[in-house]
Symmetry: C2
Amino acid sequence: MTSRPAPTDHPILDHLRQRWSTFAFEPRPLPPGELRSLFEAARWAASSFNEQPWHFLVAARDQEDEFARMLSCLVEVNQAWAQNASALVLSVTRLGFTRDGKPNAMARHDLGLATGQLTIEAVSRGLAVHPMGGIVPDRIRELYGIPEGFEPVTGLAIGFAATAESLSEELRRREMAERVRRPQRDFVFGGSWEQPAELD
Amino acid sequence: MTSRPAPTDHPILDHLRQRWSTFAFEPRPLPPGELRSLFEAARWAASSFNEQPWHFLVAARDQEDEFARMLSCLVEVNQAWAQNASALVLSVTRLGFTRDGKPNAMARHDLGLATGQLTIEAVSRGLAVHPMGGIVPDRIRELYGIPEGFEPVTGLAIGFAATAESLSEELRRREMAERVRRPQRDFVFGGSWEQPAELD
């Protein structure tokens, strides 16, 4: 397994430092129980009015037909590497509140929160999760019968990180690129917008 | 500190099981460095095209004027208990991509992912994070000068969980209510919508 810990400016949990969206997966199945624990981690996320807008469609690698069907819901450039994942997931959110159908402004945000918890659970089990915006929502709606009022948001490739040698040249270049983020002064403000926070 | 571990159906990381949106905080400041590590955890989240749409405004408890100003951006029912937090945060997302201004469909989702990482970092440090949809976006825009193209999404109360005895009767009732979530069969599907996934 390849490790690419984040070059952090401040100490964080090792699971968060090790989290990384690899392109290189070892094509093998997950041990029993792993996916249940990942979804359980998502399940206990916070949500606005405890609405729990998150929904997941899942296909494990050893469910060959289902896995191929779900793979076909990703854009082609993602299919090329996600085909080696141990499981694929499509995340879907409910746009309105269950109780009255009114729009839930937190529908996508709370799906993200739950997906974050799923991801850290995965890392703690030695797995990598690569989230993808590159999905084909209309195809997902049709293939899986997603009802009105629900929106496919992401795909997740979940599995065992492999070495970059298994990748095409282009993906290997992206895989090995430096991990970069904006510094905190660019997004942590105090007093007014764009004023870097002064913190102990 | 009060503990209300989630009654999970499958094993998950202890930090995830202990995560809980308490209403009861001990009104005392955070040790130095804590907030920096929380934002660092958010910083290293994944995001669509590495856009990192997340932004945070923060006020620590010992920055008294700033803390009071940020508290005034919450709806009144939240002010009642969040006033005891050690720090308040307002989360804001950038709605368009930096490179071309086109709408980022993942703007709120990726803020949620980052907030999830911040939250787990906090739990690992013995802190509680209570996310709030109940904020006053127009007031936030005005007080902090949020530019067009950015959207205030949540407030976060961060601090040390206290016992429920410090709460009003109504909040104590909510604090002590059973922790409930939908079962996995209601949101983890395989093959088609509403068909519970069959997983090892």
